[in-house]
């Protein structure tokens, strides 16, 4: 059954082809939805069968991946590596192993639900068919990313999801901001992708292959080469690891390349749920986990990843405290949770990172879809200050949103509790107290801002216009059913990683091998204390949020806090002015450079070189013209004139009188005879 794995990415691509090209403009909304959702649903079903097939196969029993190359994509030829000459080819191939099984499940399952939800959410929008084309295209690219058996196929998926992200952020292209946000996302991602490519090139030059199953054994078998000095004082492993990680900071919105993600909320909300929360932005985490063999040989880079992850988590969580746009809150929360995943990856707790990735996919997709349901009911309003008391009008949305909020806050027995506990436990297990403290504090902030959002949106009294209040309605079943399914996922997804009975970690073990000496001790009863501490902190934060924002206080509690710390509030609500700083330095610097180059172009290149060449050419042509006219033509005319004059003269000789010819003949003869005689005498 798992031999059919190639069909999984092909089906969504087929959907994109059908909706985007073959049947473009010929289908009604209903048929478009059936094609798009049907093919993705089929892919999801097939994914389950493939996973089941792989789990029952002898390869899985032998801890081996299932791998197949479909055709040779780039037959590049010989590459000189330190290990000797390798025949470097890149194949289009797919790989099924426990890690890709997890990603496959998350992407197809969450993706399918979001497709379903979109049918309801986008029902009244223009560009319905275009939307589903992009969404299917995204699914195909994302599946290629998680299933590819080498870095090149992964990169194709990586760029493909980036493209779809750009297209979908700028979906409302008639407005001013979304296309700008799309460009911003694309450009920021390109910076990361550049570094990613550098890392891939370094891999090719050092090992002559990009295939995971060949590359990682070669690296593991050759630690001296990998850890020797390479460039800039980095070892080869550190160089590759750092390059790939910079790629991941772009895609997964980490410091310093996180600025695009909050603006990406300009796209439709289901897109934010699918691409900018559940799947695409986690590609960086997946890639780091996939490359764990490299990262374990580069401990310095791993440390850096952990620090950047923790810093991003804290930084974004503090910004989330002061946002008033419900989607912005969730966006910063996503950045923060991605930071959490990188914290885990940096601590070499890759299975914890993937675990959090999975649970996060469920509860963050749920929260985004819930916020989408709210926005849908509010007629496009996203400002939480104009909401309030929505739980009466939107009971289903409220309940599912609450489950999502509890899950992200890390309340037992919801999914977030288990995955966050794994990460904090890893920090403790390595004795990294500062990282643990930051993680714990971030968890408290997360619980606080999420419940701030819950209270501002669903509790208290309605603060919007009368018209909006009249319009309020619960979303149709096509939207609420996916919400409930995701809500179930947000509860149970964590149970596979129950402390002391961690099926998830054992499942991923063949891929995410732990090097000797870095084992995290098994959970014991004593180790439950950190979990209880985390739970207590989260509960306390929720209680705090209810004191500030709960009940009928509405906006008063928040305003009081903002007035008490005006500077902090200004700092947070302006997102630390990071966008402004980037604008003042990078963007403005870029513009200034561009303008300088333009001036150089206009004055030197255009003025001196191009126009100078023009003037010189014109002058030379004039001279050349004169030469032609007087010297060359003059010579030609001279020949003509001479011939003319000569002919005029000589024609007189031809009198036509035979007598005169005979006289000349006789005279000539006489002259010749005289000449002969004279010469003979002499």
């Amino acid at each position: 059954m798992h031999g059919l794995v190639w069909l999984i990415p092909v089906l969504p691509f087929l959907g994109a082809l059908l909706n985007g090209a073959v049947l473009k403009g010929r289908l009604g909304k209903k048929a478009v939805a059936w094609v798009a959702c049907g093919l993705v649903g089929l892919a999801a079903l097939l994914a389950l069968l493939v996973i089941a097939g792989y789990l029952g196969s002898p390869e899985h029993a032998a801890h081996q991946p299932f791998e197949r190359d479909y055709y040779t994509w780039i037959p590049a030829g010989a590459v000189h590596t330190p290990d000797g000459v390798k025949n470097f080819t890149v194949s289009a191939g797919l790989l099924v192993d426990p890690l890709s099984c997890v990603m496959l499940f998350v992407v197809t399952f969450v993706g399918f639900l979001i497709h379903l939800y979109s049918v309801g959410y986008m029902a009244h929008e223009e560009g319905f068919q275009r939307y589903f084309t992009y969404l299917n295209l995204f699914m195909g690219a994302m599946l290629l990313l998680v299933l590819g058996n080498n870095y090149a196929v992964l990169f194709v998926g990586w760029e493909g999801v980036g493209l779809c992200s750009y297209l979908l952020i700028g979906f409302y292209f008639k407005q001013e901001f979304p296309p700008y946000a799309g460009r911003k996302a694309f450009i920021v991602n390109r910076i990361g992708d550049f570094a990613f490519l550098i890392g891939v090139f370094a891999l090719v030059s050092a090992f002559g292959t990009l295939k995971f199953t060949e590359l990682f054994p070669r690296i593991a078998a050759n630690p001296t080469l990998v850890q020797g000095p390479y460039v800039l004082g980095l070892s080869l492993a550190a160089f590759i690891a750092l390059s790939l990680f910079i790629g991941a900071t772009g895609k997964s919105a980490q410091i310093p390349l996180f600025v695009w993600l909050p603006d990406a909320m300009a796209g439709p909300t289901p897109v934010s749920a699918l691409i900018h929360a559940a799947t695409m932005v986690t590609a960086g985490v997946y890639m780091v986990a996939r490359s764990n063999v490299i990262y374990q040989l580069a401990p310095g880079v791993s440390q850096l990843i952990a620090v950047i992850g923790a810093a991003t988590a804290l930084f974004a969580a503090t910004i989330g405290l002061a946002q008033t746009d419900i989607k912005k809150v969730l966006a910063y929360s996503t950045v923060s949770q991605l930071g959490y995943m990188f914290l885990a990856a940096g601590l070499t707790a890759y299975s914890a990172a993937i675990f959090h990735l999975m649970t996060h996919a469920f509860f963050k997709a749920l929260l985004f879809l819930g916020s989408g349901s709210v926005i849908h009911a509010m007629g496009g309003e996203q400002d939480m200050r104009k909401m309030g008391g929505l739980k009466a009008a939107l009971p289903q949305t409220y309940r599912t949103f609450l489950i999502g909020a509890l899950a992200i806050a890390g309340i037992f027995p919801f999914a977030g509790f288990f995955s966050k506990d794994e990460i904090l436990h890893a920090a403790l297990g390595h004795g990294r107290w500062v990282l643990y403290g930051v993680g714990l504090f971030t968890a408290a902030l997360t619980a606080f801002y999420m419940f701030r959002a819950v209270y501002m949106t669903f509790h208290g009294t309605f603060r919007g216009t009368h018209e909006q209040e009249h319009h309020l309605h619960e979303s149709p079943p096509v939207m609420t059913v996916p919400l409930w399914i995701l809500a179930v996922g947000a509860v149970v997804a964590g149970w596979v990683g129950f402390p002391g009975w961690n099926v998830f970690e054992r499942f991923l073990e063949p891929v995410l091998l732990r090097p000797a000496g870095l084992e995290v001790p098994e959970h014991e009863i004593g180790a439950l204390i950190p979990a209880i501490v985390a739970l207590a902190v989260a509960a306390l934060a929720i209680y705090g949020a209810s004191r500030v924002f709960g009940g009928d206080r509405g906006l008063e509690g928040g305003r009081a806090w903002a007035e008490r710390f005006p500077r902090v509030h200004r700092l947070l609500s302006n997102k630390y002015w990071v966008d402004e700083i980037y604008d003042a330095t990078v963007v403005r610097g870029f513009w200034a450079t561009a303008r300088g180059l333009f001036r150089f172009d206009a004055s030197f290149i255009d003025g001196l070189l191009v126009n100078g060449t023009r003037h010189a050419t014109v002058a030379f042509s004039l001279l050349s013209g004169l030469f032609d006219k007087y010297v060359v033509d003059g010579l030609v005319n001279l020949v003509g004139t001479i011939l003319d004059a000569g002919s005029r003269t000589l024609r007189r000789v031809q009198t036509g009188s035979v007598g005169s010819y005979a006289l000349v003949l006789a005279a000539g003869m006489f002259a010749l005879v005289c000449l002969y005689m004279a010469l003979r005498q002499g």
Partner: protein, 102 residues
Amino acid sequence: MLEITTNHFLVLSFLLFVIGLVGIITRRNMITVLMSIELVLNSVNLNLIAFSYQLSDLTGQIFAIFTITVAAGEAAVGLGILIAFFRLHDTANLDAAVELKG
């Protein structure tokens, strides 16, 4: 009695040649010109025979016979051309043959 030597022949031959040449140059009638050409050719024949006699070598006489033969051909062709010309122009005057005048 004056002995007739080669020089006498040469003088006679020279006179005949000059008479023929002057006839060719000055005469307008084609028939007269043809006759003058015969005169020139026969002056050469006389020259050849005179030297042949002096040197006791028959080659000169044979040459003369060749010349007479060629002169007969020439006269035939020349008269043919003359008749053709006369038919065309109704005259045997050489001044009428000026088609190639420059």
